[in-house]
Symmetry: C3
Subunit: 190 residues, 3 copies
């Protein structure tokens, strides 16, 4: 774990002074999507909106696609459990790696994805790049980073990341030289 920042929010009780009362009466909190009787009686739905943010450092990985769901859950799982409903944003602070969601079971899928990326983005003598001062793998890495993206937003439901059965979080390392990678995780919900 890296530096960890900030936390939770609590709404001010009387934000615009005199109009507090009418606001309260005019805009009661609505329950959307027909909560079941059990959730209507569940005091957790009254919890204040919470924010949490943390920077995770992932250890250096070799070029290729890596399943990092366990590592991410180890870092944030305890905090996730405090959210009934919300969103988790994972933001990779780099331009030569990427975050994506894909199959979590067969490692061949990750190997094949790396094969694809290397086929679709030219590298080495056949490549037309002007930006070569950081090595032949650098410009392809930048392109791959924009193809897959550096950020994910995942729903939180009942204290867990609400991904599908076969979904996992991948870190795709596009450089030859492994380096540690930082991910800013932001949790928001109730």
């Amino acid at each position: 774990m890296q530096s960890s920042v900030s936390l939770s929010s609590a709404a001010a009780a009387a934000p615009f002074g005199g109009i507090k009362k009418s606001a309260t009466s005019s805009f009661p909190v609505k329950s959307l999507y027909s909560p079941t009787p059990s959730t209507l009686n569940d005091p957790s739905v009254m919890a204040a909106p919470k924010w949490a943010q943390k920077t995770i450092t992932l250890p250096p990985q070799k070029r290729g696609c890596h399943l990092i769901t366990p590592k991410i859950l180890k870092e944030i799982g305890g905090d996730l459990s405090g959210f009934k409903c919300g969103l988790a944003n994972l933001f990779l602070q780099h331009t030569s790696a990427s975050l994506t969601i894909n199959e979590n079971y067969d490692s061949d899928v990750r190997a094949d994805t790396e094969t694809f990326l290397n086929r679709v983005v030219p590298e080495g003598r056949s490549a037309p790049w002007k930006h070569t001062i950081e090595g032949p793998d650098d410009m392809p890495a930048h392109i791959k980073s924009s193809m897959f993206g550096c950020a994910l937003t995942i729903p939180i439901t009942d204290g867990q990341l609400n991904m599908g059965t076969w979904q996992g979080i991948w870190l795709c390392e596009h450089r030859d030289a492994p380096t540690a990678r930082k991910v800013v995780v932001t949790l928001n919900g109730i």
Copy 2:
């Protein structure tokens, strides 16, 4: 509609006991972006933050790109109308399909996009994939899913998805065999 979860948040009035008063006075809610006189007087800006979450099941679609904006709005449009300002997150729980935003008018654009995907990702005898046990279309489907992504976050403004005139939400089905697909929709806003 699938199982539906959760609802709305209401901030606790005095979260850290004794410091409530100073918090209220030190951090009044600021009106950002110069609200017009009409919004300043609009009690809706005083509404409590709300959360809503729901899983939508999209019926099986054939391989290709499909405009699903009407289906999504049919499922969430009523709830959207309760949000003055916010964000809608759509999260597809699958690794062989994708969600993207693109042109909502000419179906040729969707057909051409499918043509592109099939050109850029090798399939069949010419393909180098190791992961073939689920059929020749499976590994290409995984790659396409990461290329376009499985999630969208769209602004909500005045009770509607604030997309551009020509934007629509697409479900791209990358498998040959149509299957139902689940999308977790999370709404958050005021």
Copy 3:
């Protein structure tokens, strides 16, 4: 700047009438990620959740990738400073341009990325597109828009976009004819 909408939220003090008290006592706001003593005493963590939303119009740019971080910060920097922790969503309302995060230093990286996009997406006589009525660059532009995406969600930390040292926000213009482009920026946090 375009029309600007809405603003901030203030939670109603007693949303479900009689149960206010138990809600408050049962669900105190938890401080996640071990705030340091200084943040525990920092009244900003008591601030109400805030929402801000604004439509920015970017001036017409020629086909290619453009660094727009300074322009974005000029428009929202003042408001960002009011957020201790949060998320910024940037949503491009167009289907023939894209937003991505990539290298912010060497303009060759942007030029090479444009070269890549033009290589991977066929255009002109060699292209198989059915959708040609808006010009030979239009269908390729739609495909590139889905490849890179039209939206970004970036963490806010201590009043700033918490991107990595080398990250910048790019607008990629995929049409030959420059046109103004609109971005809806939504800020949410405490």
